[in-house]
């Protein structure tokens, strides 16, 4: 995990959703972001850790943070440059 003080440009609440819904929501949301902008995603599916790792691997976006607090998983993803 890296500490990043940059701002969050968008937040996505994917709590209560199972794969592939958080991934699809993230993809849709990130279409509205510009290169370098960051999205914070909150999810509750424990499998979402692997899912967002795979998501970033496949899309080229950067998974900057993964944290777990009280059963909630928070991901910060930075959209890849053009």
């Amino acid at each position: 995990m890296t500490t990043n003080v940059d701002s969050i440009d968008m937040e996505l609440d994917a709590r209560g959703l199972n794969c592939p819904l958080p991934i699809l929501r993230a993809k849709k949301s990130m279409n509205e972001l510009g290169s370098g902008q960051r999205i914070k995603i909150t999810a509750t599916d424990p499998g979402s850790i692997k899912d967002f790792e795979a998501f970033c691997k496949q899309t080229g976006n950067e998974l900057q943070e993964t944290t777990e607090v009280n059963g909630e998983f928070v991901f910060v993803i930075r959209k890849a440059g053009a």
């Binding site: 959703l17 199972n18 794969c19 592939p20 819904l21 991934i23 699809l24 993809k27 849709k28 499998g47 692997k50 899912d51 795979a54 998501f55 691997k57 496949q58 899309t59």
Partner: protein, 197 residues
Amino acid sequence: MKAAERRASILAVAKILFADCGYHGVSVDEIAKRLGVSPAVLYQHFTSKEALYEAVLNEIACHRESYVEAALTGPDDFSSVLTRMTRVYVDSVVNDPDYLKMEMQALLEDARLARQFFDSRWKSFTDFIEVNMQELTASGKFSQVNPRIASLMFQGMVREALYAKCIYDAERYQDYSPQELAEQLIELFLHAIGYRP
């Protein structure tokens, strides 16, 4: 034998025994005997029979990455994503029908295990169908159909198709591959729920 190889061999043997005899029908001692090792060796890798069972499930289950790839690669409308996810699932069962046998055993012997299968395998499909139907009904892309019952219909038809093709190799459907059967069923399903792309 290296630890990783030993672990893999334990999982392979345990999978066959769980598929043939069910969770309660096989003991750690029997798995160890089949492997030609002492039970202590198994406990070095898995803390309990339950942990071993869970590991077998995770091992033979289709990798989550495949579902992520299926979700992301191609058009992202409801029917396209559902079709690609189903394709991944059908492939995983065709490649390893022991999983399906384990599920059948779980349904017969232990409701908790059966729910575990539902949560780890079918819930992705049922939730995907329900959430999409709820959201798209408002936009007129579905008829007024109960999303929960529709998702049960989907689960039932795909599972039955896999039983017919992968467990008892039904002569009745010999003209269809598992994938063809699943795709035709999805078409019928979309028609039944009144999906309008």
